[in-house]
Symmetry: C2
Subunit: 193 residues, 2 copies
Amino acid sequence: MSVQGRKQRERAERERLIVATARELAEQQSWDAVTTRRLAERIEYSQPVLYSHFRGKREIIGAVALEGAAELAAALRTAASTADGLRAQVGALAHAYLDFAERNPAVYDAMFQLDGGLAFAREDDTPEPLKDAFAALRETLGEVAGDGVHPGLFTELFWASLHGLATLTRAGRLPREHAEQRVELLVTRLAVL
Amino acid sequence: MSVQGRKQRERAERERLIVATARELAEQQSWDAVTTRRLAERIEYSQPVLYSHFRGKREIIGAVALEGAAELAAALRTAASTADGLRAQVGALAHAYLDFAERNPAVYDAMFQLDGGLAFAREDDTPEPLKDAFAALRETLGEVAGDGVHPGLFTELFWASLHGLATLTRAGRLPREHAEQRVELLVTRLAVL
DNA sequence: CTCGATTGTCTAGCGGCGCTAGAATCGGAT
DNA sequence: ATCCGATTCTAGCGCCGCTAGACAATCGAG
């Protein structure tokens, strides 16, 4: 009865291959270059095979986004736990966030710029990895929200600021030159230490 | 000799029509709905006419973006000049910015999310309206940067925060519910009053 | 062991996209 | 009235996301 099992494993493996290949192609060239034809060619299957795993291109982007969210959450927790003292922790958290966006631009786009068909904001059906990445931010930032300020709300604001810095920098709207100073200013001003 | 003049005017008029129609269609439906075919049909010319005014779709988006930048700059200046006191001015500025993004989502996308082929960051060839919108922010925000903080850098950070709030809210990533409180918190914490 | 049914994969094609070459038409100057 | 240059259009290229239907491989029942 292990025949079915083997098939299932092979199928799951192929799904991982699709997601990994899409991500790779997006990082190498851009999401525009990730067409169903090229993706199919790279995994050495025909186009329709993609549609037996995902409803369409959106869902593939969504899968990359979820993978990215899990990695981001882990990176944030590592950064926060490595630093000593509140101030350093918040700084490390912010840097880790911006580093992630800078080093994985395509994944970051999949998460926050493209339509990956992922639900949000409605508490219930937001995918777990995304909630967890937010939770990772909140664990540290909740400590510096200040008296009488809701930790969740404070985290949302801090996150939005990071997101703005990340996207505007990457789009060439903000010179990379003083990126460091902007982060420092953000941490100093927003966090109550 | 006014024949040439009339033709030039008609041509300029048609160009305005193209930009206005693209903007309208984008706001009504979405930028995805703005295809060269549909756009051509709405202005009652054939597709290639669009290419006698713009290099391609990107440039049309860029034209909408520039129009939007000029409007945003004006809205920001009006807001700042209407309020009394530094604190109120900064608050009004922030609200005006977010209102603009909320009320003109397609235009905002043209400016900051889509590729309109506009240069940035390199001081020299950034289009005038964009520099001016940034200048409008700086005029007010420069007053509250705080001692020893470069006004331009402070403005960049404040702008990035607003941009983050605008995009994440519009994408449904942040609940609209406490939007007001987030802005208040941003103003209170970032600005040195 | 055979043979129909089920499952999996592929070929081929649909409608729509941005963009362009070359035909057709128009309008002012001679 | 006729020509010629500018303007506009028709038609079509190569690509996109997606899917119907043909075909092959695999499995379970007789």
